[in-house]
């Protein structure tokens, strides 16, 4: 599993695709493929933070769900915005979203073979 992080609009997906072309139908935007709906080969989870937010809003447990997912798809690429670099929000849900997304990304980074941070479309390998 590879983890790609960076700010909004930094060209993260294009960066990944330049290095590693993946067919459009294997790129999942803000969602995880449903069971039985998974094509063979490498999968990209794009806008991963949006999926975390959605699951939190639905009362799910993204921590557990994503770990199960990467066990089944050990060669997936996860792309997420960095969302923690701001003023702590007044809204309870927004606060929890940032905190839990941060903790999930730390765990994914620990498990990843590679972590890259993309800025201006350029990746810096940090692990």
């Amino acid at each position: 599993m590879k983890l790609i992080i960076g700010g909004y609009a930094q060209g993260k997906l294009q960066y990944v695709l330049r290095k590693d072309p993946v067919e459009a139908e294997k790129i999942w935007d803000g969602q995880l493929p449903e069971n039985g709906n998974v094509a063979e080969g490498k999968i990209i989870l794009h806008h991963f933070h949006n999926w975390v937010k959605k699951r939190l809003a639905e009362g799910g447990c993204p921590e557990k769900e994503i770990l199960e997912f990467i066990q089944i798809h050990p060669d997936c690429i996860i792309i997420s915005d960095e969302i923690g670099n701001g003023i702590v929000p007044v809204d309870v849900f927004e606060r929890e979203y940032r905190e839990r997304t941060g903790r999930i990304l730390i765990e994914l980074a620990e498990k990843a073979e590679e972590v890259e941070r993309v800025i201006c479309g350029i990746g810096q390998r940090i692990k």
């Binding site: 983890l3 992080i5 700010g7 909004y8 960095e82 969302i83 923690g84 670099n85 701001g86 003023i87 702590v88 309870v92 940032r98 905190e99 839990r100 997304t101 941060g102 903790r103 990304l105 730390i106 994914l108 980074a109 620990e110 972590v115 941070r117 940090i126 692990k127």
Partner: protein
């Protein structure tokens, strides 16, 4: 020696900072300078989480929500080490806990002077600060003033520090390292 550690919320900066001071303070007294004031259940939970992470690591805790240099009066040994967490709380407390909000200039000057004295009085000082600069939002004027004060203070602290490390998804990235001779590199 002084180390500045910066990161966003949920970046893993605290865990890294505690590790860092653990390595630096071997065999020495190790203080935790807590700056957070608790107002509600969520704050209590946050402090509880941090206490749990610290438990068994041999920290002596000093609660110092304002006037950070006063922590020195509670530390006797000159070769002590301290971890200050977190600058964002200290700046908020200095700015907003008085009857009239402190200005960016006042708060910046007060904190920089306090940290400078702490640094002199300790063997190692590790400071955790927060990246509050990249959400692209426009807040009310007092919050913008707070963000500017944070920016200025981080800049001053980075200047004083021998080492500056940014923590991203739990991974340390060295921004500055003049701490030659300690033999510790990330």
């Amino acid at each position: 020696m002084m180390t500045l550690i910066i990161g966003g919320s949920g970046s893993g900066k605290s865990a890294f900072a505690e590790n860092c001071i653990g390595l630096l303070a071997e065999g020495k007294k190790k203080y935790y300078l807590a700056t957070m004031q608790v107002f509600d259940k969520e704050g209590e939970k946050k402090i509880e989480r941090h206490r749990r992470l610290r438990s068994g690591k041999g920290f002596l805790t000093i609660e110092q929500p304002t006037a950070i240099e006063k922590a020195l009066t509670k530390i006797s040994e000159k070769d002590s080490c301290a971890l200050l967490e977190c600058m964002s709380n200290l700046v908020a407390n200095e700015m907003f806990s008085g009857e009239i909000p402190g200005t960016e200039a006042e708060v910046t000057e007060r904190i920089a002077a306090g940290i400078s004295r702490l640094k002199e009085g300790l063997e190692h000082l590790v400071i955790v600060s927060n990246n509050v600069f990249e959400d692209g939002r426009q807040y009310d004027e007092s919050t913008m003033e707070y963000i500017r004060a944070m920016g200025k203070i981080n800049e001053l602290l980075a200047g004083m520090a021998d080492r500056v490390v940014e923590v991203v998804v739990g991974i340390p990235i060295t921004v500055k390292d003049n701490s030659s001779g300690t033999g510790r590199k990330e």
